[in-house]
Amino acid sequence: MNPRGLTSWQRNRVDRRRVLKAAGAAGLVLGAGDRLVRPAAAQATSVTFLRHVDPPANKLETDLIKQFEQANPNIKVDYVTVPDADLFTKFEAMTVAGTPPDIVNFGSTDVPAVWQRGMLAPVDLSAAGVSSLDELQGKYIPNALSGYVFDGKLYALPHELSDYVMWVNTQMFETAGVDYPRTWEELSSIGPKLMIRNSGQVTQEAIALPLGFPGAQILVFDAMVRQAGGQLFSDDGRQAFLTSDPVMKAVTTLSGFVQKDKITDPALNGTTATADRDLFQNGVAAMMLTGGSWYRGTLDTSKVGKNAIPVPYPRFEGGPDIAGDLYGYGLTVSAKSAHQPEAWKFVAFLSSHGTDYFENEGLFIGDKATADSDVAAKSPNWDVFQKELARGKYPPSLYHFNEISDIVGRTVDAIVRSGDDAKTSLQNAQSSVTPLLNS
């Protein structure tokens, strides 16, 4: 017993009360002080922005985020970048962990799968400064938004809009004394003149094909099929036409380059998925099919440099005037985000800097303001891209795009590289793809 008649436990309890009271008071003081010093920061909303690594764009966006946060002190942007190939896996991991990012720049072919699961919020048109989808479409070049429209609503703002053109090495063409081909048939006939062999080994090939890269292969192949007058899939993604004559014509043309004309050597592609670009950049291939306007910057610092120019995709003789498939990235906002207004505000802010993206990296986000700007006019060969973009369209919105493109890409790969029987292989692919089509 102590003089006050309290046990040691009671004494401790009093002490604990005092400590708690003191801590509470200190917290109130600190909280109030914080509010006094930084009134806005205390209520700041944080939005997470997940996007793929793209050094020039990442640098630009870091600056843009600073500007945005200064103009909107109540919004903080948590910028998360991961390699492109890992973006969807990162998104899956964040979603499974219960912390899905508020904003993601999904590849255009990934958007349908995410939308189908009800995970995307429709675009906040007011944040984009328009009152209707038609008004917004008026600000973009034709078809730029079509890949992100589902059930009449828009679910992403384009963050990149590209279509593949054919890149040619002018020096190699001059040396060979030929002009670049306008048709696949011409490509086949002039190709041998661009081949150089040393002791039986290919040291220069006419064209580097995308092999072992299903995502790019299907874009090239889909465009060729449409040029041949057909479709790989119906527009609603419910039907596949892999055994049709146009598909056969396209795959026969591609495999002919390897098996018959021998104007490309698949063995040169090695192990990397983007080997066709490497071969072109390193001056081993005279032509290449998987580069958009963004490729200029890479080429400028490569061995090929200014000798590389973009030209329209070849067409089939007598076939429709159709360019490469449109593809790109779209800025989306999660339907589960608690901060959708803030997220769309930031997305709209980024989208209003199309010219900066173009000037920094040649990255076109599909807006008319950039397409018609002085910056674009001064950009070398912009007219080629502009005309081709107007003649391209997105592949159908397939909810199982990755799986379907893997099946089709590997099938084409086996026919082209290994000379597998086209008819049998395409029949097998048709069977594998059918259960995965949109229903």
Partner: protein, 305 residues
Amino acid sequence: MTTRARAAPRTDITRPVLSLERRQALVGMAFVFPAVLFFALFFFYPMAYALYLSLTSWDLLTPPVWIGLANYAALVSDPNFLSSLSITLRYTIEAAVPLILLSLMLALFLNQRLRLNGAYQVVYFVPVVMPAVVSAIIWGLLYQPSGPVNNLVGIVGVEPLPWLASADYALHAIVIVSIWASFGYDTLILLAGLQSIPPDYGEAAVIDGASRWRVTRDVTLPLLAPRLLLVTATSVAALLTSFVLPYVMTNGGPGTATRVLPLLIYQTGFQFLHAGQASAMAFMLLFITLIFTALQFRLFGREVL
């Protein structure tokens, strides 16, 4: 009386609650507990969860839906699964047999206490310490049309081969890298086994008139059986679950020529968003690995254990 008085129990000493054996057991358990916890958290729990997932339809983005054994039933008629399973078995057999024979021969050779034995051991062990991704990239370059491998086969008059570009060669090309990357480790295990065999047995056999081959066959190899079992079991399990080399070197191509089961499991789960189906494939692979391991135990006999 005095004795009795001395023998009387001392009441001032408290008796331990637990016996010595129990206390020792508790101490032992305390030491083992972190390891058990580690395995439970990072191995057994994920395995149990994967088993549950294999009974669901789960796309990683929305909650799993229980579908019972449907994933397993679908695998039986899934051409991709059956194709990858066949490729995996071919790859495993093609690599395991030469790998074990080569390791055994090298171990027998190095067991002769040659000059520069240490240097040899360093050389053959280097591939083991090299990360698989690095090995895959380097070998990808070596397999280039005008690369060193084609130059080497060119010496004996063979035309340059499209090692990674042709479905006919790609799997063999990966098999070669697998053997190269693993034989150093297997050799080391077998060499340690050989060095633990007392030389007296061989010497006695020689005195009795046994030839060198007979000593190796009837004395050395039976005594080496436990190590051979270890090497075979671990190598086969590693080959059945091999992922990095096919992923980096060919990504399963050309076409699906080198798409082994672990690669298909990865694609199915993370790229195609069928995590339930991928889990079922993983359990099928585990089951196959267990069958292989059981067969090896039977082959080597129970006495080696």
